[in-house]
């Protein structure tokens, strides 16, 4: 059961994109807003008709402009999670799931699967953002879709809730044996969830490859906007200090960040943007940056401009640093060398710290 998509169109935005998604594979379509990601998803769902295109799942053709085939949306066996969830506000959670054609037993089972057992009788307005999102996922899965489409499904919840939902999707993966397409502009989200990433820029495929290749490819990163480049360290809260900082334990040693609520032992994920990281060959002294993280250079990728992207291995995790090529030359940086990453505590905003579900 492979999803094949080929779409080209002149309006509303010029688009010429083709890709395939295998059964059980989660593909992330990433790119800056306005790149055409959501339009592609709408073409798969039949909510938008391209000038030319073909969409086929398994042996079934949903769209083939060359042959004049166009299956209406309601006859395409798909599940969609919308950005705004688009739950039916007048229906309970259970009725929302049953609206997708599931009988009551199946609907209850799917709600149980997304940890919403006991909330079946609540209406969307009586559920939190994260819970509404889970109902939307349950509704999309209820009809056993041939394709699952996720349109920026996590953008409407705060970062903390998002972490929980990522964990939820990771856990659900065992049940997702159909092609899954996730649209996002969040690199971190793609890194966490996707097997493969297709980078779309101005309606064209800029890169198509396994997540780990794309993630550290400066050309791909530029397509997504380099400012989005960053990496995530996991850490445990070690203690709260009197001056408003929280001490954390990470693979790279102790970290100090602005107050994170929680008790010692709590697991958190800290997202560190590549442009917030400085590098030093020797451990510096008498500097204001509190966090000095030792690491080993795993890769050095010069960009087309003055910048370069350096990947550091820190324990079994990675850090990304965006520095100038001039600095790379001046410091004589090379793969395999050890060096220190400097991160200002104040550069890590509160929304960049996520909580891991226990």
């Amino acid at each position: 059961m492979t999803l094949e998509v080929a779409v080209s169109s002149g309006a509303p935005i010029p688009l010429d994109v083709a890709f395939q998604v295998e059964a059980g594979e989660l593909l992330a379509l990433v790119g800056p807003s306005g790149a055409g990601k959501s339009t592609l998803l709408r073409a798969i769902a039949g909510l938008w008709q391209p000038d030319q295109g073909r969409v086929a799942v398994g042996g079934e053709t949903w769209l083939d402009t060359a042959r004049g085939t166009r299956l209406p949306t309601h006859r395409r066996r798909l599940g969609v999670v919308f950005q705004s969830y688009a739950l039916f506000p007048q229906m309970t959670a259970l009725a929302n799931v049953m609206a997708a054609g599931a009988d009551e037993t199946r609907a209850r089972a799917v709600l149980e699967l997304v940890h919403l057992g006991g909330l079946e009788a609540r209406r969307p307005a009586e559920l939190s953002g994260g819970q509404q999102q889970r109902v939307a996922v349950a509704r999309a899965l209820a009809r056993d879709p041939a394709v699952l489409l996720l349109d920026e499904p996590f953008s409407a919840v705060d970062r903390g809730t998002r972490e929980g939902l990522y964990a939820e999707i990771e856990r659900l993966r065992a049940h997702l044996n159909m092609p899954v397409v996730l649209v996002t502009h969040d690199m971190e989200e793609a890194r966490r969830l996707a097997d493969r990433i297709v980078v779309i820029d101005r309606g064209q495929v800029l890169r198509d490859g396994p997540t780990e290749d794309i993630l550290f490819d400066p050309r791909a990163l530029r397509g997504m906007g380099l400012r989005e480049a960053g990496a995530t360290l996991t850490a445990r809260i070690d203690g709260q200090e009197g001056d408003g900082l929280t001490r954390l334990r990470s693979a790279g040693g102790p970290l100090w960040l602005p107050r994170i609520s929680g008790t010692p032992g709590d697991l958190v994920r800290v997202r560190i943007m590549a442009h917030d990281v400085m590098l030093a060959r020797r451990r510096p002294e008498a500097i204001s940056a509190l966090n000095v993280i030792p690491g080993v250079i795993e890769s050095l990728l010069p960009g087309d401009g003055p910048g370069a992207l350096v990947t550091l291995t820190v324990g079994d995790e990675v850090l990304l640093a965006r520095i100038t090529q001039r600095s790379v030359q001046a410091m004589g940086l090379a793969v395999g060398q050890s060096c220190f990453a400097l991160v200002k505590s104040m550069a890590v905003a509160r929304h960049q710290v996520g909580r891991e579900d226990p």
């Binding site: 909510l47 309601h74 039916f88 609206a99």
Partner: protein, 222 residues
Amino acid sequence: MDWPALWLSLHLAGWTVVLLLPVAVFLGRFMAFHRFAGKGVVEALVILPLVLPPTVLGFYLLVAFGAESPVGQLWQGAFGGPLVFSFEGLVAASVLFNLPFAVQPAQRGFEAVPREVREAAACCGMAPLTALWRVELPLAWPGVLTGMVLTFAHVLGEFGIVLMVGGAIPGETRTVAISIYDRVQAFDMAGAAQMSAVLLAISLVTIAVTFRLSARAGRRLS
């Protein structure tokens, strides 16, 4: 108290509502969900009866329905009687001049259904009519019902068009509004007052129902 006139008015209002309900649902829904060339023209035509003096609209309808007109002849041929100065003619006129009252609130009601919610219905496998019944109408009904209530009340009070198209034939086209006028002409102020009071009461109830419905709609969709 002219009971046959009140009965006739209620009858006319009832038929108008029954005939306009599907028009309001499908035309209102279409106008709310689709953009097309000439949409402005269609919207203007729907609103036209709202701004046109009733006697002017009545005059055109009288000409359009008359025995010499194609519509009038078609009717005569099919049913053997004239369309003007008949109850059926009144119903037809009534449906036309109430288009804005029925369609506009219905359109507003459907416009309040978010696009993603409509698309979600299709993505759940609902065919368009199923989606209309299970998702769109449950969200848009306050608008549709408001339109029907307004239409009902408006039919009871319409004077100019009814007089132009229907005349004032007792039991056939003399509605309660015309009956009030006739009573005053005959210096029967008590009879006129009685019927006016009945219409006043119906209007107050209409306003109360409409207000409650729009408040409820506001709460639901907030």
